[in-house]
């Protein structure tokens, strides 16, 4: 029963994607309904998997002697991320019913979304390194296809290509690590390796650890690869919500959290993760402060919050990082879907042309503010508890100056969140066109998310049990009740953090009086608008990959004679290896 459920969690979205695609684009109503039905089924299967997480159900698909078994394990971490992917994913699908109304090629859209959700479930549920790599690449492919969904828009295509290439570069690191694991231990299964990292000699372990760090940083848009995520904003907004909250970027955090017990003794690794997270969190927060594109602000805030998760992992706070991921998934999905409702009705993403929308869309304003408060870390919303946990972890196990930097980041977060809310919903209206309120399916998706943003922190105790020692013995997560979390959070450092956040708010209220300061910081703002020059690095990577591909095109002549020449050259190499290779 449980094993079937596990496989169903992956299979349902994939089958649904196939069916939606086969239905054809002439039956759009049917397509909407099928997509929603399968997404909800998948969400149900994911939630139904929770009770089985402590019993360690294992599904083995024997696949011959070369790759070992394809193993799927429903442990706490995997089940948690599956639930996030399927539930948030199904809400994004429901939201799409209104958002994608009247669009062409819905079959491609829904098929890719469902394929994406299934692949993410597979990625977090398998314990076979090769399968992890496969699912990893499938998610990259789906994100590319969905970011470039409007494939007649050159900006969307460029954004998709950029996301694909950057995450592929990271995928090389993952592949290197996976192959090393196989070469040294002779098995693709990583659970034994995590339980006993001594299986790998130190030098190989180091290469693997940093390869995985590169892979995770590229996937989760961390420094220095952070620029693909804002460019991915050309996607339809439910896709942005899916990528930011449910599927894509969580994969990198998952990878780091999963392998933390194995890599924590590699010299320099935790420091590297810590610094990557810290630099990203601060830099992305500053970039969010100067951006005028609503979706870009949210994208930078995702990058920044993912930086917090990396920071927590670097400081050894696996529970804090995963709890923040949990909260972040909920409030970021809420923010994105709310932003989608705004963009859908206003028709622009430029916040300078919005303003005063609160009166016309009261519900959207309410939920967006809830999400924004959670992002800023205001008590008692879920973002407050998890962000404080992250900061506590940093204070306990990381150098104090990194904690101070993260505190400043939290202040900036509050500042840009309020700037964003103000520019969209308050102030003077800048366009006098009529704005219609969000559609019913949009509201259906928004309300549960707003409710969860208010209450999901109450689950902190059961969340700790979900990730507890009986399912993740190597991670050593000991939190088992809400009381412990509250006790840990309600302390002096939290007060300091709240003061910093309040200062961030105050900076927005008194922005008029701080003109001198903001003028002084204008240079920083300029640099931030250019992504501090890292945009150039990322663009260089993309350009280099594309020109290399262009150069390699000379080898694809399409001429039969040259193809046969290649075959014979291959034959000669094989023969030479056979004869002279010993």
């Amino acid at each position: 029963m449980a094993t079937t459920l596990l496989l169903l969690t992956i299979a349902i979205p994939w089958v649904g994607g196939l069916i939606v695609w086969l239905v054809g684009n002439k039956h759009t109503g049917l397509q909407h309904r099928i997509a929603v039905a399968f997404a909800l089924l998948a969400g149900g299967a994911g939630v139904a998997l929770i009770p089985y997480s402590s019993s360690q159900i294992v599904v083995n698909l024997p696949l011959g002697s070369v790759f070992g078994n394809f193993t799927f394990v429903a442990d706490g971490l995997g089940v948690f991320l599956t639930v996030v992917a399927t539930v948030i994913g199904s809400l994004a699908v429901i939201f799409s019913v209104d958002y994608m109304q009247g669009e062409d090629q819905l079959g491609r859209y829904y098929a890719m979304v469902l394929f994406f959700i299934g692949a993410m479930s597979g990625l977090v549920l398998t314990s076979n390194m090769l399968l992890v790599f496969f699912f990893w690449e499938i998610t990259a492919l789906c994100s590319y296809a969905l970011i470039s969904f409007h494939n007649d828009d050159p900006k969307a295509v460029a954004g998709g290509i950029k996301a694909l290439i950057i995450t592929q570069i990271g995928g090389v690191g993952l592949l290197a690590g996976a192959l090393l694991l196989y070469a040294v231990t002779g098995s693709m299964d990583f659970n034994a390796f995590i339980a006993n990292p001594a299986l790998m000699p130190a030098k190989w372990l180091g290469i693997m650890a940093f390869g995985f760090l590169i892979a995770a940083a590229a996937k989760s848009a961390q420094f220095p690869f952070q620029t693909w995520l804002p460019d991915a904003m050309e996607a339809p907004t439910p896709i942005s919500a899916l990528i930011h909250a449910a599927t894509m970027v969580n994969a990198g955090v998952y990878l780091m959290a999963r392998f933390y017990p194995a890599f924590k003794d590699v010299p320099g690794w935790t420091t590297a993760v810590l610094l990557v997270g810290m630099i990203t969190a601060l830099m992305a927060a500053v970039m969010a402060l100067v951006s005028n594109d609503l979706k870009r602000v949210l994208a930078y805030s995702t990058v920044s919050q993912l930086g917090y998760m990396f920071y927590a992992i670097g400081a050894g706070g696996i529970y804090a990082s995963q709890f923040h991921l949990f909260s972040h998934s909920i409030f970021k999905a809420l923010l994105f879907l709310g932003a989608g409702a705004v963009i859908h009705s206003v028709g622009t993403r430029d916040m300078r042309q919005m303003g005063g929308l609160g009166k016309q869309m009261p519900l959207v304003r309410a939920v967006f503010i809830i999400g924004g408060l959670a992002l800023a870390g205001i008590p008692i919303l879920n973002g407050f508890w998890s962000k404080e946990m992250v900061l506590e972890a940093g204070l306990a196990n990381a150098p104090v100056w990194t904690y101070i930097v993260m505190l400043i980041g939290a202040g900036i977060t509050a500042l840009y969140t309020f700037r964003c809310v103000w520019m969209v919903f308050y102030g003077e209206p800048h366009s006098d066109q009529h704005v219609h309120d969000a559609g019913p399916a949009m509201k259906v998706a928004l309300i549960p998310l707003a409710f969860a943003t208010l209450t999901s922190w109450l689950l902190a105790g059961s969340f700790g049990k979900l990730l507890g020692p009986e399912t993740l013995p190597a991670h050593g997560i000991e939190i088992s009740s809400l009381g412990e979390v509250i006790h840990e959070v309600l302390s002096l450092p939290t007060l300091i953090a709240l003061i910093v956040i309040a200062l961030g708010l105050a900076a927005w209220w008194w922005r008029g009086r701080l003109t001198g300061l903001s003028n002084a910081l204008k240079g920083v703002g300029q640099a931030a608008a250019d992504s501090f020059g890292f945009e150039a690095i990322n663009r260089g990577i993309v350009k280099g990959t594309q020109s290399a591909a262009e150069a390699l095109r000379a080898t694809q002549t399409g001429l039969l004679n040259w193809n046969i020449f290649g075959i014979i050259a291959g034959l000669i190499i094989v023969l030479a290896v056979v004869i002279f290779g010993g």
Binding site: N561, W562, I568, I572, A576
Partner: protein, 159 residues
Amino acid sequence: MWHILIMTGILLCAIMAIRTKRLLVSAIWLAGCSALVALFLYLLGAPEIAVIELSVGAGLVTVLFVFAINIAGDEAQPSHPVISRPLAWAVIAVAALLVGWLLLPGVNVAVPGLPESQLGNTLWQARSLDMFLIGVLIFAGALAMLGLLADGKKEAVEP
């Protein structure tokens, strides 16, 4: 030595089949090559296969070629190759040398005596799967043949 003579003949026919400009002549050289290979197979001790090769390879396939060349036309060919000839020769020579190097220890032995064999029995009993496969293949061939013929008719109507 008959064998050396036949070998020379086979290779000569093959080279001529490649070198000739006219396709029809090329097909005739191929038939000659096929017949000589059949003879060689007979001398190697495989009379059944030799007969089949003679009838199918030298007979049926040649007919097919002549038929197709009739439909497709036998005009003079552009002879300028895509890959320069010396390069092609060099690659082939290297590959042949390497294969020969691997092959030599295996073939440089005296011929063992011809074992007793009952081809028919083995064919129908031990290798019945092969026979099934052959049936499927012949079916596919018949289909392809139909395609060839249908196109011929269409062309006959169109002009």
